[in-house]
């Protein structure tokens, strides 16, 4: 085995192990932690596939941004022990297993079906395209744009895939609006929900000068009715 194979083996074991841990942990914050490990290791896989830019974006966006959001949500919800660790009902678990196996089969299909890599290769840009936009002197990443480098992405996205790129912005705009609507709806629902459910924190914008100030903490501690030393 070459050194690269050994590294890949180690990386894969860590990735799969961390993913398994992420699924099986009962405390969501541990799931988040191990998922972060998985994402970081996947970044290493990208690097091994000679795509350093993708690797860095994986770290920046997934490990550094999306997992931070997950952590935020977990910390925000602060599930009590009795609220987490509830196992899903059996039909749901069977359904989940079927879906997971289906996704696995879909991903494994190219590996066993010899026709697929060839078809995928025909979709890839021809080698000549990589040099269709040679950067002018003093710009770009050196004299040639090698596959996977940051400049290669620039040339490909802004040359060949202009329309998908612009559509992405629409998608992101929709995400922004959806975010605001969802976040707000939650808030207003809590305002009208006076069915005495003590699980709901008080209206969240009452805090004074600083959000998360001691005052808001005190007000939000009360209704959750934790006993001392809970």
């Amino acid at each position: 085995m070459a050194a690269a194979d050994v590294i890949f083996l180690v990386i894969s074991i860590i990735a799969v192990g961390a993913a398994a841990l992420a699924v099986t942990r009962k405390n969501p914050i541990y799931s988040a932690l191990f998922m972060m490990v998985t994402l970081l290791v996947v970044a290493a896989v990208f690097q091994m596939l000679s795509s350093p830019f993708l690797a860095v974006m994986q770290v920046l966006l997934y490990a550094g941004a999306i997992m931070v959001l997950f952590t935020f949500v977990i910390m925000l919800l602060s599930l009590r022990p009795e609220e987490m660790g509830e196992t899903a009902p059996l039909p749901q678990r069977i359904f989940a297993a079927v879906v997971a196996l289906g996704v696995f089969a879909l991903l494994a299909f190219p590996a066993i079906e010899p026709g697929v890599p060839a078809a995928a290769a025909s979709l890839a840009p021809p080698a000549a395209e990589a040099v269709r936009f040679p950067p002018a002197a003093g710009t770009g990443d050196g004299a040639t744009v090698e596959f996977g480098a940051t400049a290669y992405f620039g040339h490909t996205i802004f040359g060949r895939f202009v329309l998908p790129f612009e559509l992405v912005s629409i998608l992101v705009l929709a995400a922004v609006v959806a975010v605001m609507v969802l976040a707000k709806r939650d808030l207003s629902k809590r305002d009208v929900a006076d069915d005495g459910s003590d699980r709901d924190p008080p209206p969240l914008s009452v805090s004074a000068a600083h959000a998360g100030s001691i005052a808001s903490l005190a007000t939000s501690t009360q209704p959750t009715s934790h006993g001392p030393g809970a």
């Binding site: 690097q47 000679s50 350093p52 830019f53 920046l60 966006l61 550094g64 931070v68 959001l69 935020f72 910390m75 925000l76 919800l77 602060s78 009590r80 936009f133 040679p134 950067p135 002018a136 710009t139 770009g140 940051t150 400049a151 620039g154 040339h155 996205i157 802004f158 040359g159 790129f165 992405v168 629409i170 992101v172 705009l173 995400a175 922004v176 975010v179 605001m180 976040a183 709806r185 808030l187 207003s188 809590r190 305002d191 009208v192 924190p201 209206p203 969240l204 914008s205 009452v206 004074a208 000068a209 959000a211 998360g212 903490l217 939000s220 959750t224 006993g227 001392p228 030393g229 809970a230």
Partner: protein, 159 residues
């Protein structure tokens, strides 16, 4: 390139080794361990601890994190663009450099629309309107654009 990433890996291993050496070996050998129940209580200014501190807190942190992700995605596209927009201009991409520039301008403009939407709705406002919540209308429900406009029109409403 592999070689350079190997160097990064070496650096990472140095870091982890240093931490383990300090915390798990050096400090463990030297430090005393005298157990006392009072020592293990969380700090709360000398008062007895009230409840767990894992409480729910403000929604706005969540909103900030979400907007942050949107901007991070935008930046992920800006990086390769920033690198090549001059190069493409000189090398005869479709329409030249101006085309690539306008492409990105449209992309950013669409996102700025989203950003302005958030701004106008008052979700970037860290201190929300206090008097409204005191007037019994129920705070935090200022979801409609109208309410948000009212807030923007009356900055004195902020405490």
């Amino acid at each position: 390139m592999y070689f350079d990433f190997a160097n990064v890996l070496v650096f990472l291993l140095f870091g982890i080794a240093f931490v383990i050496l300090n915390v798990a070996v050096l400090s463990r050998l030297m430090r005393p361990t005298i157990r006392q129940p009072d020592k293990d209580t969380a700090y709360e200014c000398g008062e007895p601890v009230i409840g767990s501190s894992w409480v729910r807190y403000d929604m706005r942190f969540y909103t900030v994190a979400l907007i942050f992700i949107v901007f991070d995605v935008e930046v992920a596209f800006l990086y390769p663009w920033a690198l090549v927009f001059k190069g493409l201009k000189n090398a005869g991409a479709p329409g030249g450099g101006m085309f690539v520039f306008i492409e990105m301008l449209v992309f950013v403009a669409i996102l700025v629309v989203g950003f302005l939407y958030v701004w106008v709705r008052g979700d970037l406002e860290w201190v929300k309107s206090m008097p409204e919540s005191q007037s019994g209308q129920g705070s935090g429900s200022g979801g409609t654009g109208e309410r948000a406009k009212q807030r923007d029109a009356a900055p004195t409403a902020r405490s």
